[in-house]
């Protein structure tokens, strides 16, 4: 029985090639989209869960009240780890971990600037990094040691054995390679290419040895003996900073490592979600796309009910029970979904590299994992069952007498179910179109919004190595200006598109003593305004004509907080020292282009700073200018790579997340629309079959093809209109929620809705017309002579 049904199912698929193609294609796209999204969700979900002790590992977060809000961040005093381990029972290990940053590592002529960090030896107890070479028990105990990852070791040493070789760190320290570990997985929050002992950190940063309890400069990772200690340890940790320093308002707490990546948003000192929300949306999207692909399948299968009806009748007449028929139809749909799965695979394998590139992740199908296969087969069978259920129950319910007598199957109830399904598909598709349109509008708005300075042709070069010596920096500036390709040069204490130091100690006349105002601290050399193209709303830039060591510039945000109408000339106190405001800079985009600028104070420095900002002359050819600049920098600072960035590139990086979301919703929205159209096509096919006789009679009575076309399309236009009506408020709610997290956002206009409306209508009419035109043009006699 099974064999015969199977054979017939295959024959059926082969005979109706067009139908099979639409069906398998729709399901395959649905399945591929679903699996791709699920792979991504699994990847994000697996963040930091590769380590066997991840469940008992915690990141220490620090709550600090300032500006009337509580800020939570993963920064702690360096003293925390040791004290916590000594004083709090239940803590198995506690280590410091430096924020990874790119630093230079050199072996002979090979030198690489790679992500590096410092930590305590116990980090190898917390994380079971896979050690490839070396003795793990001695790692990081010697202050002049380094542990490399596999890729870096290969790059530095090639085929040589790296153990006990001496490498040079930042052109200063000589370090002995103690071990090589496997590369860290990309979905691990703790990442580095080489790791050095904390004792070296103290040697390089002597201030950190004296830093007390009010200096938050490193991460602290804590591992508990087991989670029953959590409550107790967490509450003890809470007061640990205040117990050691009465002036501090830091209140640390434990945040599970497994949640570090996904639950990264804090409000009022408590975790309130974060990336997990985006993940949930994607998860939902995955199943919605699969669902509409299934809906499609149902539509197309039931559309052929007249054809299959006869078969049902005959089978019942020769002794089939309803259960047999349900089984048969289910088998057919599972077969089809398995076929689609094969095609989906091909699609995924083709798309994966593109998708990985787009998202900057490393997704791969792991063919050796049994979980993967179970999920795969499970998904295929689930899809088959889901998609096949309605057709199976519907088709098997036919009364054999009626279908065999050639009565057309009463379409009423089943048609309305199908209409409902199509409306559902289109609601989903229209919502996605609306969201995509608004996401792109928002992206455009942010892209075109004034940054506050000119990012074009502005180059940022890190000041490192010998450039830290003021006279070398002066030489660089001089050479650059004389090269003719550079208009202006200045320096800044942080990358201009990124965050930097901040703190409290700003006082001004009339300040409420109890309030803490968090202010960004920056310093710059001469020509800052001229180089960046920022605007001063009052006052002047630092200049050589004045002695500016006790002068500062502030931004408008700070002026507003201080409530000063004319701040220029006012004297405020910074860390107890009086300083004079000489200029007010108009707010520019500091870190996030979506957020209001934070208050900022800028001092003048002549000495070394973090980056040099170079404005390429407007007259210069950009590529030659870049070559000239590279050459000059290399000449003065030969030990380091030039490492120059265009500021507009770093700025474009900030839009990455939104651009990604835009691309994702564009793609998957496109798929959803496409699949929905297939569903609509199915409905049109069905309708054409149903109304063949009616249309023929109308034609005999004198209706023109155009009349018929209008008649047939009218119903579908109605469905799409209903879908739009439902989708509009739904889309509005969703997109409004999304936009509300941005300070700067576009107003929701009628345009996205109009786009969604016109697009869905246009596509629907186009799809349906393909079918109805065929019916409208058909010879009426062909349909009527069978009556």
């Amino acid at each position: 029985m099974f064999k015969l049904n199977f054979r017939i199912a295959l024959r059926n698929l082969w005979k109706n090639k067009g139908f099979t193609l639409i069906n398998v294609g729709g399901l395959a796209i649905g399945l591929a989209s679903c699996m791709l999204l699920l792979l991504y969700v699994a990847y994000e979900w697996g963040y930091d869960k590769q380590y066997s002790n991840y469940k008992t590992t915690y990141m220490v977060y620090n709550n600090q009240a300032a500006n009337g809000k509580i800020f939570s961040f993963a920064a702690t005093p360096g003293l925390m780890a040791e004290t916590a381990k000594d004083e709090i029972p239940g803590i198995k290990e506690a280590v410091r971990f430096d924020y990874p940053s790119d630093r230079l590592l050199t072996y002979k002529r090979n030198s690489f600037k790679k992500s590096s960090s410092f930590s305590d030896p116990a980090i190898f107890k917390i994380f079971d990094f896979k050690v490839l070479k070396g003795n793990q028990s001695t790692f990081l105990k010697n202050p002049n040691a380094v542990v490399l990852t596999e890729t870096l070791a290969k790059a530095l040493f090639g085929n040589e054995d790296p153990i006990n070789k001496v490498v040079k760190f930042d052109n200063q320290e000589e370090l002995i390679v103690e071990g090589v570990i496997e590369d860290l997985p990309k979905n691990s929050s703790i990442r580095f290419d080489f790791l050095m002992p904390w004792s070296l950190y103290g040697k390089i940063n002597p201030w950190s040895l004296q830093a007390g309890w009010n200096s938050n400069f490193c991460m602290t990772l804590i591992q508990l003996q087991d989670n029953s200690f959590f409550e107790q340890a967490n509450s003890k940790l809470h007061g640990i900073i205040k117990a050691n320093n009465k002036d501090s308002n830091g209140e640390p707490f434990l945040h599970p490592l497994a949640k570090y990546h996904l639950y990264n948003t804090f409000e009022g000192g408590k975790s309130v979600g974060g990336r997990i929300e985006q993940l949930q949306i994607l998860f939902l999207l995955a199943f919605c796309i699969l669902l509409i692909a299934c809906v499609n399948f149902m539509n197309l299968s039931t559309a052929r009910s007249e054809k299959r009806g006869k078969e049902v009748g005959v089978r019942k007449a020769i002794g089939s029970s309803r259960a047999d028929l349900i089984g048969q139809f289910m088998m057919e749909s599972i077969l089809l979904s398995l076929l689609s799965m094969l095609l989906a695979f091909a699609l995924i394998e083709v798309c994966l590299p593109y998708f990985n590139n787009l998202l900057g992740v490393e997704l791969a199908i792991n063919y050796t994992q049994w979980q993967f296969w179970t999920m795969l087969v499970g998904l295929a069978v689930l899809t088959g069952l889901l998609a096949g259920s309605y057709p199976a129950f519907y088709l098997s319910s036919f009364d054999p007498i009626k279908v065999l007598k050639g009565f057309s199957v009463a379409g009423g109830s089943s048609l309305s179910v199908r209409k409902f399904l199509v409306v559902f598909q289109f609601v989903f598709a229209t919502c996605l179109i609306i969201c995509t349109a608004v996401i792109y509008q928002q992206l455009n708005y942010i892209k075109n919004k004034s940054v506050g300075y000119s990012t074009k042709n502005l180059i940022e070069i890190p000041i490192q190595g010998v450039l830290n010596q003021p006279e070398k920096y002066a030489l660089l500036k001089d050479k650059l200006l004389k090269s003719g390709v550079v208009a202006d040069v200045t320096n800044f204490s942080a990358a201009i598109t990124q965050g930097g130091n901040n703190g409290y100690g700003i006082e001004w006349p009339g300040k409420d003593i109890k309030s803490n105002v968090l202010v960004n601290f920056r310093s710059t050399g001469y020509d800052f305004i001229k180089t960046t193209g920022m605007k001063l709303s009052a006052g002047r830039d630092f200049s050589m004509q004045h002695a500016d060591s006790a002068n500062v510039m502030i931004n408008q945000a700070l002026a507003k907080i201080m409530g000063m109408k004319h701040p220029v000339g006012s004297v405020i106190k910074w860390g107890g020292t009086p300083v004079t405001i000489i200029g007010v800079i108009e707010d520019y985009v500091e870190e996030s282009p979506y957020k209001y600028s934070s208050p900022m104070i800028v001092t003048h420095t002549d000495g070394s700073n973090a980056v040099a900002l170079v404005r390429v002359a407007a007259t210069a050819n950009l590529s030659t200018a870049v070559d000239v600049i590279d050459q000059i920098v290399k000449e003065i600072n030969p030990d380091y790579p030039v490492d120059r960035h265009f500021v507009d590139d770093s700025f474009a990086d900030k839009l990455k997340n939104e651009r990604l979301l835009g691309t994702l919703s564009n793609w998957f929205g496109g798929f959803a629309v496409f699949i929905s159209c297939l569903g609509l096509l199915g409905l049109a096919l069905y309708m054409a079959e149903q109304r063949k006789k009616e249309i023929s009679i109308r034609k005999v009575l004198g209706a023109s093809s155009a009349n018929i076309l209008v008649l047939l399309n009218k119903d579908f236009v109605k469905l799409v209109l209903i879908a739009n009506l439902i989708a509009f408020p739904l889309g509005y709610i969703i997109i409004n929620k999304w936009l509300s997290s941005y300070d700067f956002r576009v107003g929701i206009s009628i345009i996205p809705f109009a786009i969604a409306f016109l697009l869905s209508l246009f596509i629907a009419v186009l799809t349906v017309s393909v079918q109805s035109a065929k019916v409208a043009k058909a010879n009426p006699i062909d349909a009527l002579k069978y009556e």
Binding site: I8, K310, E311, V314, R315, I318, G319, P400, I401
Partner: protein, 221 residues
């Protein structure tokens, strides 16, 4: 074998009862060859369908091989039906996607006959109906008469006690019709198979042993 008592069938339409069959009472014994005749709309096919358990009477008693059909549940009815009734249709109603051999095999599958026996019975049928050469063809590759032969083979292969034929020759040319009727007669005579056919043609009715004349839902003769 078949006992019908006061069978009635009507469709209610806006409160009006639209009668198809009224007070149909008759008995058909094993081995009979009965022809149901009457003008269009007399209720011939409905009567046949009720006998074949594809339709239920609105009212009345129907006993099939001593069992009261009107009181049986769905599963039992299908069981009874599978084992004892074979249908032959005017429009043949073969399954287009199946070959000749598969069409003949299908009822055996539902009866859960073992594979070896299935093969031998199908081969037997093909042989008996002289369609061995056509066994791998699909219905649309056959003439009407050949299709009806397959239809009959499909009805006979399950070895039913009774064959119900609804105008089996209605779509056929006369030479083919003759062949089919002779086949029915042989089945009736040599295998003692009970046959009930609905027909318009006096000539076809003459093959039977008895004629039931229906008019407006009533047996008039």
């Amino acid at each position: 074998m078949i006992k019908l008592e006061n069978i009635e069938k009507y469709y209610a339409n806006k409160g009006l009862k639209n009668y198809i069959l009224r007070h149909v009472t008759t008995t058909i014994n094993a081995g009979e060859f009965v022809s149901i005749m009457g003008p269009s709309g007399a209720g011939k096919s409905t009567l046949l369908n009720i006998i074949g358990m594809l339709e239920e009477p609105t009212y009345g008693l129907y006993e099939f091989m001593g069992e009261n059909i009107t009181q049986l549940n769905e599963r039992k009815r299908i069981e009874l039906y599978r084992n004892h009734i074979g249908f032959v249709f005017q429009a043949y109603h073969l399954i287009d996607e199946m070959t000749v051999a598969e069409n003949i095999e299908a009822p055996l599958l539902y009866k859960k006959v073992g594979s070896a026996e299935r093969k031998s019975r199908v081969a037997d049928m093909l042989d008996r109906f002289n369609i061995v050469g056509k066994k791998d063809l699909f219905p649309n590759q056959l003439s009407g008469g050949q299709q009806q032969l397959v239809g009959i083979a499909r009805a006979v292969v399950a070895q039913p006690a009774i064959i119900l034929a609804d105008e089996p020759t209605g779509n056929l040319q006369s030479a083919q019709a003759l062949q089919i009727m002779e086949l029915f007669q042989t089945l009736n005579k040599t295998e003692n198979m009970t046959i009930i056919q609905v027909t318009h043609s006096e000539a076809n009715a003459a093959y039977g042993s008895r004629i039931l004349n229906l008019q407006d839902g009533l047996i008039i003769k």
